[in-house]
């Protein structure tokens, strides 16, 4: 079992924004809260899935809602802890460990806050290997874990309990709850045994995210400087290869909070002008990257937009007109390329009239030069 202390936090958070593919919530505020928790309560145990007892009782913890809201309704230690306590009260038993919904963005950190305060381990892994906007898209329900019993708390501390065993119904209810409670709630859901977790989790993504953050810090610079280092890291991971999709300037970006999501699109133009615009569709996350009719990458493969100069990843809610950016694509973990997973995460599930085609079949044939 590893220890996770405040010294790894900046790297974890940077890596998590890269994997968040634009979503997952602002990591800065989550990082401040996690820092407070780790400083006050000490490092947490980071337990690998294979080290977890088969009978352990684990629950997934994180924020649900529109990431933009996380810029204004600031999280707190209490929200994470009170949600876990309310969950324990609801089910009438103690939780042995917590696990993240999604490694992407601020949601990678919320379980760490609760684990630090409650003195329990946090599992090294998550339910997405990235960030995705809806509950049924997690590996946990796809692998057969039931979403409930579940509880949520809102910014006032109001607790709501959920009992439906139907994942689509659960997603509808929890989204409605987020919408009517200020746009963002904290949820404890998908309780599972250690045995179930081992079959359902995307493993070791917390450790991987720290490694990724370290690369981003050590080789901070544009794609020229960092690409080979990133490529080497992804090559030995559960992810597929990383591809350079585009480099240019954001000439338009618009998202709105609609139905509890940030929805919109961004257009990126070459530095040198020209009309080969890259369009990126957004629903909390960057979902499809295309130039005209030519699709470069789609969900569930990862699309990440980084600052051109420093390769610092940029969340969708911070993407702005005039920014100079590089767009990377990364093959998703193999789990999401199985038929049972694609039923929930293929482009059609987001309203795009296209089949999923793996990024390496779309991009590899014609890689653009790195600016």
């Amino acid at each position: 079992m590893k220890k996770l202390g405040s010294e790894s936090l900046a790297d974890l958070s940077a890596g998590a924004v890269f994997l968040a593919t634009g979503g997952g919530g602002d990591p800065h505020v989550a990082q401040l809260v996690t820092q407070q928790a780790l400083e006050e309560y000490g490092p947490v145990d980071l337990i690998a899935p294979e080290e977890l007892d088969d009978d352990a009782y684990v629950v997934a913890l994180g924020g649900v809602g529109a990431p933009t809201v996380s810029l204004e309704l600031l999280p707190s230690i209490d929200e994470a802890v009170n949600t876990l306590r309310a969950f324990e009260e609801h089910v009438g038993r103690k939780v042995d460990a917590v696990v993240s919904f999604e490694i992407g963005g601020g949601n990678s950190l919320i379980p760490i806050v609760a684990a630090a305060v409650m003195g329990i381990p946090v599992v090294d892994g998550d339910g997405m290997g990235r960030a995705l906007p809806e509950a049924q898209m997690m590996t946990y329900p796809i692998s057969g874990v039931l979403p409930t019993p579940a509880v949520t708390t809102d910014y006032r501390g109001a607790v709501t309990e959920f009992d439906t065993t139907d994942i689509m119904e659960f997603e509808k209810e929890i989204r409605q709850c987020a919408l009517s409670s200020g746009g963002m709630i904290t949820s404890a859901e998908h309780p599972m045994s250690g045995r179930q977790l081992k079959a359902a989790i995307v493993p070791h993504t917390v450790s991987f995210s720290i490694e990724l953050g370290k690369i981003l810090r050590m080789y901070r610079g544009n794609a020229h400087r960092i690409f080979d280092h990133l490529a080497a890291l992804f090559a030995k991971s559960i992810y597929g290869d990383i591809h350079h999709l585009y480099t240019g300037k954001v000439i338009d970006c618009s998202t709105r909070i609609i139905g509890g999501y940030d929805i919109g699109e961004a257009s990126i133009a070459p530095f040198t002008g020209g009309d080969e615009l890259l369009k990126v569709n957004i629903k909390n996350e960057y979902l499809v990257a295309s130039i005209g009719e030519r699709v470069l990458a789609t969900v569930p493969d990862l699309i990440t937009i980084v600052d051109y100069e420093t390769s610092t990843p940029i969340n969708a809610e911070r993407l702005r007109f005039g920014q100079r950016v590089t767009v990377f694509g990364v093959g998703c973990p193999p789990f999401y390329r199985t038929q049972r997973a694609l039923k929930f995460v293929a482009p059609q599930c987001f309203g795009f009239a296209m089949d999923y085609r793996p990024i390496e079949t779309l991009s590899a044939a014609d890689p653009p030069p790195i600016a």
Binding site: H28, L32, A66, L73, P75, G157, G183, N222
Partner: protein, 517 residues
């Protein structure tokens, strides 16, 4: 003709420009009271050029005083930090994550109130008037004069901030108040930080604007005067009085723009070497490359748009280690002229290395400097290494670019840098900042409430952009140079769905009035 003045921590530079021609320039020392240094510089360029006062069309000021105040924690007033938004945000109070010293400068007075709105315009909580009264009483009891007010989602709905500001003003009419919705976009902490820094500078900005105004009137200059802001455009002086924080990055912006003007180069690396630091920036198409990431000012996170600058601790006054193998970041600063070896002092500085190497002649003020040859060789090598490393970090690609050296310390560079295609150290490079201020651009900003249901987004953006261009041109921008610099959209929560606050800024060069004058 126009006058550009740059007031830095060490030097006050002034230039007199006829169109693009430098008629006169001066590098004078910044005085404690700032004003008399400005007067000295003005006096010099006016008498040197023989230009009449009534011929001066405008005076443009660039100043790093507000940035320096934050970085050096000087001249900052204590501020009451009022945040409206409980029960949300309790875990991250105002000034969370700030360096302890600057938080202490602002006094750590914070008041968290129930109230504010949610993203959908519904109340987050009702404003609690008892809390407001208690806050007002406490601010009065502590004798605080400056207040920063923030509220959750205030860019979408400014009402809660305005309401509390009105109550504070009713109770204490003399308070200096900054509301966060005037300082930035969504991102409560960064917006609140910007408001706090701004509020803590309000007292100082009043004094600075007054002393500039007096200095100009004193010299018989009645033309308008402007102060340059982060994006290289000008603000009128009264605006600066209220928004001093908007000048934070104007120094680097001016020196980059000045470097471009002096060389005619649009794409280059610019190294501005001062007394304490070398600031490395990149010119792209004649403008500073902007930083995409959240900017820290004096260690405080903000969301201002700023040029991407790498500051390294190497300047003319930087202390050199005994062996010559390391230089800076400590510097004797403006005391170089008394403490440096070449000025008869006892401290080995970067400037002394150049004097010892025979590459710099300080004229009648200077004294010869003798150094161990090994120390000298090491020292010169250290300077080149530090700059090469800095430039390497900022290079947009591996292709060499021209390097432009500006600033008073430009003499420190004696050899070509590794990644430079050519080296330029143009005439007047010592006053590039002041030239940048003098050629600062005119901005035109238009904000409109639009409904994308009635007007499709693309059309609305095009319309408001046209208005912004027209505003810039009306304010004196040359139509041929006007471009859109920023587009910002904020959903308005309390309006019908589809209502958006659309803000567009257009900027362009000042139209030359040469023909008419």
């Amino acid at each position: 003709v126009r006058i550009g003045i740059d007031v830095g921590g060490t030097h006050t530079d002034a230039v007199l420009l006829d169109g693009e021609k430098v008629l006169s320039s001066i590098k004078a020392l910044t005085t404690e009271d700032v004003g008399s240094g400005v007067i000295n510089a003005l006096e010099h360029i006016l008498s040197d050029s023989g230009v009449g006062r009534d011929q001066v069309e405008a005076v443009m000021l660039g100043t790093t005083q507000f940035t320096n105040a934050v970085v050096e924690r000087r001249q900052l007033s204590e501020v009451a930090a009022v945040r409206i938004g409980l029960p949300s945000g309790n875990g991250l109070p105002p000034m969370v994550g700030w360096p302890a010293d600057i938080a202490a400068c602002l006094g750590g007075h914070h008041y968290m109130l129930e109230g504010g709105t949610l993203y959908d315009g519904r109340p987050l909580a009702q404003l609690n008037l008892d809390q407001v009264d208690a806050m007002i009483a406490d601010i009065a009891a502590r004798g605080l004069r400056s207040v920063a007010i923030s509220a959750a989602f205030s860019p979408m709905n400014a009402e809660p901030e305005l309401e509390v500001a009105a109550m504070l003003r009713a109770a204490m009419p003399d308070l200096l108040i900054t509301c966060s919705h005037q300082m930035g976009r969504l991102g409560l902490l960064e917006r609140e930080n910007a408001a706090l820094l701004n509020a803590s500078l309000l007292k100082f900005s009043g004094r600075v604007v007054d002393s500039f105004g007096e200095a100009l009137r004193d010299r018989g200059l009645t033309c308008p005067f402007y102060i340059s802001q982060n994006d290289g455009t000008l603000m009128d002086a009264e605006f600066v009085r209220q928004y001093p924080a908007l000048t934070f990055a104007s120094g680097p912006t001016n020196s980059l723009r000045g470097a471009s003007k002096l060389t005619g180069l649009d794409d280059a690396i610019v190294i501005d070497i001062g007394g304490t630091t070398s600031d490395i920036g990149i010119l792209q198409g004649g403008f500073p490359r902007e930083s995409n990431i959240v900017i820290e000012v004096g260690g405080v996170r903000t969301n201002f748009r700023m040029p991407d600058i790498l500051a390294i601790g190497l300047g003319g006054g930087s202390l050199v280690a005994e062996t010559g193998e390391s230089i800076g970041p400590r510097s004797v600063g403006h005391k170089l002229v008394s403490e440096g070896l070449a000025f008869g002092g006892a401290t080995l500085t970067a400037t002394d290395l150049l004097v010892a190497a025979g590459q710099l002649d300080l004229g009648e003020d200077g004294q010869p400097v003798k150094l161990d040859p090994q120390v000298l060789a090491n020292g010169l090598q250290t300077i080149q290494r530090m700059l090469n490393e800095g430039v390497e970090k900022m290079m947009p690609s591996s292709d060499p670019l021209p390097v432009i050296l500006v600033g008073g310390g430009a003499v420190l560079v004696s050899e070509k840098l590794d990644s430079a295609s050519q080296m330029h150290c143009p005439e007047h490079s010592g006053v590039a900042n002041a030239i940048g201020a003098a050629i600062a651009q005119i901005g035109g900003e238009v904000e409109r409430l639009v409904s994308y249901r009635e007007t499709p987004r693309e059309e609305a953006v095009a319309q408001v952009s046209d208005e912004a261009r027209a505003t810039a041109i009306a304010a004196g921008a040359d139509p041929a140079t006007v471009r859109i610099a920023d587009i910002e959209e904020t959903t308005i929560s309390y309006m019908a769905a589809g209502s958006t606050k659309l803000r567009v800024k257009a900027v362009g060069d000042i139209t030359r009035r040469g023909g008419e004058a």
